[in-house]
């Protein structure tokens, strides 16, 4: 393009070509941009943190000889049957409807192979998913699409969803092109219409009601199953405290990089806070309640890509993490194998985010039988299992280097930040200093408890 070659042409930083294209698109169509994926803008993230490996003052563990465990027990507070997972990397909630039956089956296969859990979504539980998932978390969402007590009893845990990181405060929209007869039947709605998912639960409002709702779910399932509460990351410190007060066994915090199947771009990019900023708030809330690492577990999601991200999330206080976008990529989403077809859709392998359209060449975010049949659940499940193993081994590698015999023993002390912003959000010192910006000032001081030497 001419612009790249013409230094005399000046592009506006405020109105760059992306902004101009969006204004032109809005003017032409009169609709806002709906897409999948999570926030695409750059925000402070795990890349802005580094580990302080062991040397003189800390002893590392031998890489191939000394144990570094990765298992995690979730739901110890009230449930008769807590979950015992072999890796702290779980699969986040994604609906049948948003994803093909084959994709849901592949997620179950991959997760089960490595001993972790997968999660239903807004649309109910499918037999394929239950059948292939050794440990399945059943989401309890505002829409209650497909919700029934039989499936509730088949679940291994229940996740009450208040929101997700891509759209805290927002409901859902599954566009008509993805509403096949099967999806419509599971949701008790006509095929082909745009399906709205409510943003608030229909029969409770606020934490006091939620406590009674959780009591009801426990009564229906005879107090057997852990009850999670999932929130999108916003006022995380308060939300976690209220979720615990309402009786949550596990709190799930999803940062703004967490994915969605279909949401307004303006919502994805402008509502919610980065995962990095949310974890210390959640950890502090649990610490102040005396429940961190004892009683209530914390699962963090939103932008987890590597074992380093897993290790950093856990060092900041998570007991486990959940992956969604990365899991879909492992199944084959955005694969160069379909480069030509992505181009035909006006996008490219690596940029495809039109999950709402149902035309996914990889057969993952679609209900088109022909496209969906491209995804071999066995092969894709194997790829996911491979990826989960890599994440786990990478996290172990870092934990051993920091002298930890369990990945959960990683702690904020092991971390430093590369940028002032990340140091302030993660509440760890800027690398080479003992400076944590903001520590010891203002109403948020309690979040820094336990780090008195930096305050």
């Amino acid at each position: 393009m001419a612009l790249e070659h013409s230094p005399s042409l000046r592009e506006s930083a405020t109105f760059d070509r992306g902004v101009i294209a969006e204004i032109q698109r809005a003017a032409e169509t009169g609709v806002y941009d709906i897409r999948g994926w999570g926030a695409k803008r750059a925000v402070p993230h795990f890349d802005d943190l580094l580990f302080l490996g062991a040397s003189m003052s800390r002893y590392p563990l031998e890489g191939y000889r000394e144990r570094c465990d990765t298992d995690v027990v979730l739901g110890t507070r009230n449930a008769r049957y807590p979950l015992h997972l072999q890796t702290p990397v779980t699969i986040a909630g994604m609906s049948f409807g948003a994803l093909s039956g084959q994709a849901k089956e592949a997620l179950g296969r991959g997760a089960s192979e490595v001993g972790t859990s997968t999660t239903t979504g807004d649309g109910g539980m499918t037999p394929e998913e239950r059948g292939q998932s050794k440990t399945l978390v059943y989401q309890y969402l505002p829409s209650r699409y497909g919700m029934n007590p039989t499936d509730l009893r088949k679940a291994d845990a229940i996740e009450v969803v208040l929101g997700q990181g891509a759209k805290p405060g927002g409901g859902g929209m599954l566009l008509g092109q993805k509403i096949s007869d099967r999806v419509a039947g599971m949701r008790t709605l006509p095929a082909g219409i745009d399906q709205r998912s409510a943003c608030r639960h229909p029969d409770w409002t606020g934490p006091d009601d939620l406590a009674i709702k959780i009591l009801e779910l426990r009564e229906i399932t005879d107090w057997e199953k852990p009850v999670y509460v999932k929130v999108g990351a916003t006022r995380t410190y308060y939300d976690v405290k209220l979720a615990v007060a309402a009786g949550a066994d596990v709190v799930v915090v999803d940062g703004m990089q967490g994915g969605t199947a279909a949401t307004q771009d303006v919502f994805i990019e402008h509502v919610g806070i980065p995962t990095l900023a949310a974890i210390p708030q959640a950890t502090a809330a649990l610490q102040e309640l005396g429940l961190h690492r004892h009683g209530v577990q914390l699962i963090v999601s939103g932008g987890i890509r590597s074992g380093a991200d897993v290790a950093k999330a856990m060092a900041l206080g998570a007991d486990a993490v959940a992956i969604g976008t990365a899991a879909l990529i492992a199944l084959g989403d955005n694969s160069p194998e379909y480069a030509a077809e992505y181009e035909a859709l006006g996008t490219a392998a690596g940029c495809y985010d039109d999950f709402q359209d149902g035309r996914d060449p990889a057969g993952i975010t679609t209900q088109d039988p022909e496209l969906a049949s491209r995804l071999d659940p066995i092969r894709a499940g194997k790829q996911l299992a491979n990826y989960l193993r890599v994440l786990t081994m990478e996290a172990q590698t870092i934990a051993r280097a920091c002298g930890k015999s369990h990945v959960r023993h990683l702690e904020p002390e092991d971390l430093v930040a590369l940028t002032v912003e990340a140091a302030a959000m993660a509440r760890v010192p800027l690398a080479g200093t003992d400076w944590i910006p903001g520590a010891g000032h203002g109403a948020e001081r309690s979040w820094t408890q336990g780090r008195g030497h930096h305050a």
């Binding site: 007590p149 709205r196 409770w204 009601d209 009801e216 009564e219 399932t221």
Partner: protein
């Protein structure tokens, strides 16, 4: 499964717990139960999964008979929020009044309310039949997907807002209708199903006094020109 006893088992919540009651109802030894002194307890008789009969003598709190699947539950008193929420099948009767979100998201069965219901009665209903002897509060049948709701008294503002395929019958006055909810012609098949629902509820009214409401289906596909309609 062993044959269930025919004697009525009485559970007194003044001395027993809701947990023990529900554990018994989920693995019942009898067909008939009577629950005394509920005193506004929550989740009374929640999660019944077979055709047992439960009579609750007194007022109950939230989510009574929640997710009922086959049980015949009668509450001789008033009920709090979310009575018979997400019911799948069976019958839940409340002789008195009920609070918000009665029958919320229920997929099947029959919910009969002898008195009146507060706001959001039948919210997001997915196939249940709800018959209310008295009136219903604002925003009832919000996003109602399937099933039928009969109101023998009046309905508050916002009736049937964003309704999908549920059918609503109201005998008295209706406040402002919700988005995309319109009055519809009452044809013979509607008079017939209305008579059946009233009979099932044990209520006697002239079906000719009811008007029918349902979806105009104008909001089934989102268009930005309609943004003001919601």
């Amino acid at each position: 499964m062993a044959a269930l006893g025919t004697e009525t088992i009485t559970v007194d919540l003044a001395s027993g717990s809701v947990r023990a009651l529900n554990a018994e109802l989920h693995d019942p030894s009898a067909k008939l139960y009577e629950v005394r002194n509920p005193a506004g307890a929550h989740a009374v008789a929640a999660g019944i999964d077979r055709g047992i009969t439960v009579d609750v003598r007194g007022h109950v709190g939230y989510y009574a008979a929640g997710m009922n699947d086959g049980g015949i539950v009668t509450i001789h008193g008033n009920a709090g929020t979310g009575v018979a929420e997400n019911m799948m099948s069976g019958t839940v009767r409340v002789t008195g009044d009920v609070s918000q979100s009665a029958g919320a998201t229920a997929h099947g069965g029959l919910l009969v309310i002898g008195g009146s219901a507060s706001m959001r009665c039948g919210i997001s209903m997915k196939g249940v039949d709800i018959v209310v002897g008295g009136s219903v509060g604002p925003m009832s049948a919000f996003m109602a997907q399937a099933g039928r709701m009969v109101v023998c008294g009046d309905a508050g503002d916002g009736l049937g807002d964003s309704i999908y395929e549920a059918r609503l019958y109201v005998r008295g006055t209706v406040g402002a209708l919700g988005a995309d909810c319109v009055e519809k012609e009452v044809r013979d098949e509607h008079r017939s199903e209305l008579a059946e629902l009233l009979a099932a509820a044990g209520l006697e009214h002239d079906v000719a006094q009811f008007r029918r409401y349902g979806s105009a289906r104008r909001l089934y596909h989102f268009h930005s020109e309609q943004a003001g309609a919601y």
